[in-house]
């Protein structure tokens, strides 16, 4: 009998890939394109064999967004050049495999910072665009899509298109945040933010309960702070439920930070390699003995108490990298969750329901004795991207450890949280997700938007070549979506191109 997993002489080879949450592994044929033409060739190779294709950035999605079992994965990590940097305008054009870490190092000495960054700097710009990521400044500055001026996208029909907000607003707003379902980005042009100091003006504050937490957020929102982020101790119950701390931060105006200019150097931003003299790369090993409910209860409590000290609530200046890349603070922190991994669930809840839903969500976890080890709260605003996860409200990102014996319970918990989001009219974030059902996703986005998306997908990818494990998982329980063709007045360069060619 033949071995379907045989490594043939013909490239590409079978490789194992796993997502950041470590809960799923796949084997796939992996291509490493170095140019847009290579992406076209990969599409041809795959479609000749009836295989589907999924782009992969740097494997930082928690769930199955970039997995494509038994099919083709395009590892875009090789396309990692900064193509053009204009220090005067702050406009940068990069290949999709450029990481945020590489980008900020490139532009900081010229007084610029990426307008939107994720909590880790190891995401790629291609991945960030496909996920339409947000940062802690989302409520004020929107998702990364709002700072993209144009992109080049390769679609399965073999075309290489350059799209901007004006030339094709439909494709622009549909492709950003569509997790590679419409095409593969091969270059992205971003407007970066002019900064006058390498540091942010940061205000930390402790919150004794959920109400105080929300008041802190509302207060800083009223004062237009750029960044607002909260951390909640999910183990605190009763009157203390929702305690934690929050950080607000704002950009520093010109001339305010006396050493601001000097701080615009890469070395001034680098996170220290040690903490209390201990090498950070081994920090996860120190944390490992605490990786159980009791240990995490203690760590969350300690962290809260630490945040209540007066000296830890002083306003101060902090380097951008240190403030933004919390997830890089402890390298390989995910090893704490080994060998069974973690899942992250991020609830996006409209403002009016946020207090109630997060209260219920934490109470539910406590009643199931399955508390999240880390809860991060952010403020968001709605945006115009078709498959957007953002709402005018709050999000709560929760990390749950996976224990094989409790996997069934965790799934039930996830389903209950999904139900809460759906009832509150909230949204889901596919970069984090690994269990949302297609029907919930459909209700959150709405049939009209999905119908328009479907029409665009059929046009650009008629054979359904661009897929991922996540795409198929959602499709399976989504039901039939009626395509809604574009209206006659829609600016729609994709259609006009087709008719110019006489293909119609």
């Amino acid at each position: 009998m033949a071995n379907p997993y045989e490594q043939t002489a013909e490239a590409p080879h079978w490789e194992a890939r796993r997502a950041w949450g470590m809960t799923q592994r796949v084997v796939a044929k992996v291509f490493r394109p170095m140019s847009a033409e290579d992406v076209v060739a990969a599409f041809e190779w795959a479609s000749a064999r009836g295989l589907t294709v999924c782009p992969w950035g740097n494997g930082r999605s928690y769930g199955d967004a970039a997995l494509n079992d038994s099919e083709v994965i395009l590892d875009m990590g090789g396309m990692d050049r900064v193509i053009e940097w204009d220090r005067a305008s702050g406009i940068v054009t990069v290949e999709p495999g450029v990481t945020i870490a590489k980008l900020w190092r490139h532009i900081l000495p010229d007084g610029h910072w990426p307008s939107v960054v994720s909590g880790t700097s190891y995401t790629t710009i291609g991945g960030c665009t496909a996920a339409n990521i947000h940062g802690k400044n989302n409520w004020m500055h929107g998702p990364i899509g709002d700072h993209i001026l144009r992109f080049t996208i390769v679609t399965p029909d073999g075309r290489i298109r350059e799209i901007d907000r004006e030339s094709d607003p439909n494709l622009f707003h549909a492709a950003i945040g569509s997790f590679g379902a419409l095409g593969v980005f091969t270059s992205i042009t971003l407007q970066t933010k002019r900064i006058y100091s390498g540091r942010l003006d940061v205000q930390p504050l402790a919150a004794a309960d959920l109400e105080e937490m929300f008041l802190h957020f509302e207060h800083h929102e009223a004062q237009s702070w750029d960044y607002v982020v909260g951390w909640i101790d999910a183990f605190a119950s009763g009157d203390r439920l929702g305690r934690g701390n929050m950080h607000a931060a704002r950009y520093v105006a010109e001339g305010v930070d006396p050493v601001g200019e000097r701080m615009l150097s890469v070395s001034s931003q680098e996170l220290s390699a040690t903490i209390f003299g201990f090498p950070k790369k081994w920090m996860w090993a120190l944390m490992k003995p605490w990786a159980h409910r009791l240990g995490m209860r203690f760590i969350n409590l300690s962290r809260y108490i630490w945040s209540t000290f007066e000296r830890n609530q002083r306003r101060h200046l902090e380097p951008h990298a240190q403030f933004n890349f919390l997830l890089d603070f402890v390298p390989n922190w995910k090893k704490v969750y080994e060998p069974h991994g973690l899942i992250q669930i991020q609830l996006f809840i409209p403002k009016a329901h946020a207090r109630r839903v997060i209260y219920q969500a934490i109470e539910l976890q406590q009643s199931m004795k399955y508390e999240s080890w880390l809860v991060v709260m952010k403020r968001h605003r709605a945006d115009a991207y078709w498959l957007s996860h953002a709402v005018d409200g709050y999000s709560f990102a929760m990390d749950f450890p996976v224990w094989p014996k409790r996997r069934g319970e965790l799934y039930e918990l996830g389903r209950a949280l999904e139900q809460m989001v759906q009832e509150a009219g909230g949204r889901f974030y596919l970069a984090k997700d690994s269990l949302v059902s297609g029907s919930s996703f459909r209700k959150s986005i709405g049939d009209e938007t999905l119908g328009r998306f479907q029409a665009l997908k059929t046009l650009l990818d008629p054979t359904g070549t661009l897929q991922s494990n996540q795409w198929r998982r959602l499709q399976r329980t989504m039901g039939h979506i009626e395509s809604i063709p574009m209206g006659a007045d829609d600016v729609y360069s994709v259609l006009s191109e087709e008719s110019e060619d006489g293909r119609d």
């Binding site: 009998m1 071995n3 796949v26």
Partner: protein, 247 residues
């Protein structure tokens, strides 16, 4: 986040109980068996209990070697990956003590051994690349000694044990877990109507033990554990004495 499992021989007995137990434990299951109606019923029950599409039937006859690759690929495609393969198909026909029927014996070997090798080889090839996964074979305490009652059933389970041991030695370095389950008598179709079975357990209990074994602990398991001391003694009985004993 759901784990993905294939259960071969899922239409009845331990296999059917495994489908339910796996679904309760956070798995999505491709259930493989020959008897379509029974299989549909097993999957339907599991899906109803979970309120979700978590088990799907794949009709396949394990003696049809040419079809294994296709069935395996179809199951993996539906699961969108693979973490666990459990081979639970097996037959134990009633044999008289004076009966030597090569046709029946060949059938036992086909279902219990050759089918297992065909399915588990495919899983092994995949897991070796994947660097993870669990392969579970349902052997039997009957595979520990050759007894009068059913020579080829004993031999088939012994062959399975040895095959699994070899797989374990090949694959453990790749992060793959290979588990040999050795159940005593389990109350299923296979044992229906047989008298005097010792320590008989229900299929549900066996399934719980098997799912626990996937996650950790010893890779060779007696279920229930009482068979460990018993079989340790029985294995040590010299042949000269063993042949004079009533079993």
């Amino acid at each position: 986040m759901l784990k993905r499992a294939i259960v071969v021989g899922a239409s009845s007995g331990i296999g059917a109980a495994l489908v339910n137990e796996l679904v309760d434990s956070g798995y999505i299951v491709a259930a493989v068996a020959r008897r379509e109606q029974a299989l549909e019923r097993v999957c339907g029950d599991a899906n109803q209990r979970s309120g979700d599409l978590r088990a799907k039937s794949f009709v396949h006859d394990v003696t049809d070697l040419a079809a294994v690759e296709q069935s395996f690929a179809a199951a993996v495609a539906w699961l969108d990956g693979l973490d666990v393969v459990i081979y639970a198909a097996g037959v134990m026909p009633e044999i008289r003590e004076d009966q030597f029927d090569s046709a029946i014996d060949a059938k036992i070997v086909h279902v219990n051994v050759i089918g297992a090798i065909a399915w588990l080889n495919l899983a092994a090839q995949r897991f070796q690349i994947q660097g993870s996964g669990a392969i579970v074979g349902i052997g039997s305490v009957a595979g520990e000694r050759g007894r009068r009652g059913n020579p080829v059933y004993n031999a088939s389970k012994a062959a399975l044990h040895t095959y699994l041991e070899a797989l374990r030695n090949r694959l453990s370095q790749h992060g793959v877990r290979v588990v040999t389950i050795k159940p005593g008598p389990v109350n299923t179709e296979m044992t229906a109507g047989r008298e005097g079975l010792k320590f008989l357990i229900e299929a549900e209990r066996a399934a719980q033990g098997i799912v626990r074994a996937i996650h950790g602990g010893p890779e060779v398991r007696y279920i229930p554990i009482v068979w460990l001391p018993i079989m340790t003694v029985i294995r040590a009985i010299p042949s000269l004495i063993f042949r004079r004993m009533s079993f």
